[in-house]
């Protein structure tokens, strides 16, 4: 099941150093790429069907095109603000193969005619930012970065920019705002597909893993990449497992594998021999699945959508039979309450309300109409805000209530007894 493309060097000793990385094929694609025209690279990426791996799954080629057609000075901003609960994949790339990321950045920048790239790393990832900086320093000293990339006459600068602890900065327009030195407030999106703008100039924002997939496609060709995965979700993804599972960690697999097999064969089953109760499939913001649905689930964007959830970032949180789902929802809602940026009223107030209501239910102070009230607030939050944060919260609430309503009702019934006594 394991299929290593991005993670091929993760187990090699000192894989983060330039010397070892070069021995294992790093920067070979650069030589090939600079003999091609930038548009050829863009076409190859479009042909490969590469999709953004930060959660949305939008076509990478189409996104690149939005920037390159502008013919203006442009920027590449790599999104390493990994803070979706359950997701811890980008840090593996930064820790074990930073040169793969740098290689991908050079290729991407060449394709979109950009000379400046920024890697926005979440503030807590100090170790990983340091490691990136070391790798970048090595690359500068080796002539891979700088005024004249590998003597091809192309200037390329990469700067690591540290965030400072705000979940919302993983949203691409909030990330650009933060990079501009502002609060991380998402921007209004235009109707037409458009690039982000960094100080008024077009910018491409892509996830670390997306960029790290580019060297393989340039080396081996789009068809080799498409050989993995499904027709609409080609390639591989770094899937993660955490929670009540025997072998938590990051495993690279092609899209389309069965979720149950992934949990049983690679994850080694549920901790302490217990039964599976629920899985949050791709970071906290995707609707939860119950054990029956997990059996049917295939790990690609389309299949996950069909069974009423989303693949998201592929970071699964596994919960065993003893997990209290009301408690789990409370945990997530307090996360959202804390992380709402406060810009839009439905989100700022809504996340606080739902957090308060669920806390009351947990403390046996729930009222009979609380479940309907949660659904109602969730409806009000969905689709009425600038970014997708509030709709994500609303999907989380609806997912829990749809699948585990009886647990909420049991809690509320208990509260009623407490009052009657």
């Amino acid at each position: 099941m394991i299929q290593k493309i991005v993670s091929k060097n993760f187990n090699i000793e000192n894989s983060h150093t330039l010397e070892v990385a070069k021995k294992n094929g790093a920067y070979q694609s650069i030589d090939r790429a600079f003999t091609l025209k930038p548009t050829d690279i863009e076409i190859e990426i479009s042909k490969s069907g590469l999709r953004g791996k930060g959660g949305g799954g939008a076509s990478a080629g189409a996104k690149w095109c939005l920037v390159s057609v502008t013919n203006e000075k442009s920027y590449l901003i790599v999104n390493a603000d990994e803070s979706e609960p359950g997701t811890f994949k980008d840090r593996q790339i930064m820790q074990y193969d930073p040169h793969l990321l740098i290689e991908g950045i050079i290729l991407t920048c060449y394709a979109i005619h950009s000379h400046d790239a920024y890697i926005y790393v979440r503030g807590e990832y100090k170790f990983f930012a340091d490691r990136l900086n070391e790798a970048i320093k090595e690359a500068y000293e080796d002539g891979i970065l700088g005024q004249n990339v590998k003597d091809f006459g192309y200037r390329m600068d990469i700067t690591v920019h540290r965030g400072a602890g705000a979940y919302i900065c993983g949203e691409k327009s909030a990330l650009v705002e933060s990079l501009e030195g502002n609060r991380g407030h998402p921007r209004l999106k235009p109707h037409e597909p458009s690039p982000e703008y960094y100080f008024g100039k077009p910018a491409l924002v892509n996830n670390v893993e997306t960029i790290a997939s580019v060297p393989f496609i340039i080396n081996e060709g789009a068809d080799a990449y498409k050989a993995f995965g499904t027709e609409k979700s080609p390639g591989t993804l770094l899937f993660g497992m955490s929670g009540h599972i025997n072998n938590p960690g990051i495993y690279e697999m092609a899209f389309g594998e069965s979720m149950q097999d992934f949990i049983d064969k690679i994850g080694g089953g549920i901790k302490n021999g217990k039964k599976l109760k629920a899985v949050i499939p791709g970071g906290a913001s995707t609707p939860v699945l119950n054990a029956e649905e997990v059996k049917l689930a295939k790990l690609d964007y389309e299949s996950m959508k069909e069974i009423g959830s989303a693949l998201g970032t592929g970071g699964m949180i596994i919960m065993d039979e003893d997990t209290c789902m009301v408690g789990a929802l409370k945990n997530l809602l307090s996360f959202y309450h804390h992380e709402s940026c406060g810009q839009c009223t439905p989100c700022r107030e809504g996340t606080a309300w739902v957090d308060g209501i669920i806390e009351n239910i947990l403390n046996n102070k729930g009222k009979e109409d609380d479940i309907d009230l949660l659904s109602d607030i969730s409806k009000t939050m969905n689709g009425k805000t600038i970014c997708v944060f509030a709709p994500a919260v609303s999907m989380v609430i609806d997912g829990f209530i749809l699948r585990f309503r009886n647990e909420f009702e049991t809690y509320i019934a208990k509260s009623k007894e407490a009052v009657d006594v």
Partner: protein
């Protein structure tokens, strides 16, 4: 009391400036440097950064308070931040908090001369749950015993 960047930070600032199309991008890097220099961001440091980057104090204050990792007040030498989000909670975050309380006698949001204990949202280390961040270092796959041993190393 006034604030100026030390030599190292001044050099970093000079090196970073041409990397960005606009100096306003340096707001976050400058706040970080000030915090590393003094341990927190003082009012004097804010004034200094405002002048250096030509941004209004209100803007800088807004930014500094938006991001949770900037301290506007002095904090104890060791900041223990326990991840509280779902994977860590499922894997026994509460046992870790109990172990911390037994070892340093502090509950969440309490502090003494040496330690401050906080709970924070997902630190992106779910595969190593439960985990905590001690100042800037991650410590993963914790047990109550290993947590105590970790803290004992710093208590002495």
């Amino acid at each position: 009391m006034s604030f100026v960047f030390n030599e190292e930070n001044e050099a970093t600032f000079t090196a970073l400036l041409p990397r960005y199309p606009h100096h306003k991008s340096l707001v976050l890097p400058c706040l970080w440097m000030a915090q590393y220099q003094e341990g927190y961001i003082s009012a004097e440091a804010m004034d200094f950064i405002c002048k250096k980057l030509d941004v209004p104090l209100a803007h800088l204050y807004g930014v500094a308070t938006f991001y949770t990792m900037f301290y506007l007040e002095e904090i104890p030498k060791f900041h223990i931040q326990v991840c509280k989000t779902l994977s860590c909670e499922l894997c026994g975050k509460n046992d870790i908090l109990k172990a911390i309380e037994e070892e340093v006698g502090l509950k969440v949001n309490e502090s003494n001369e040496l330690f401050k204990v906080s709970q924070v949202e997902c630190l992106g280390a779910c595969g190593g749950a439960p985990m905590l961040q001690l100042n800037e270092d991650y410590h993963e796959n914790l047990t109550p015993q290993s947590t105590k041993e970790l803290l004992q190393r710093f208590c002495k």
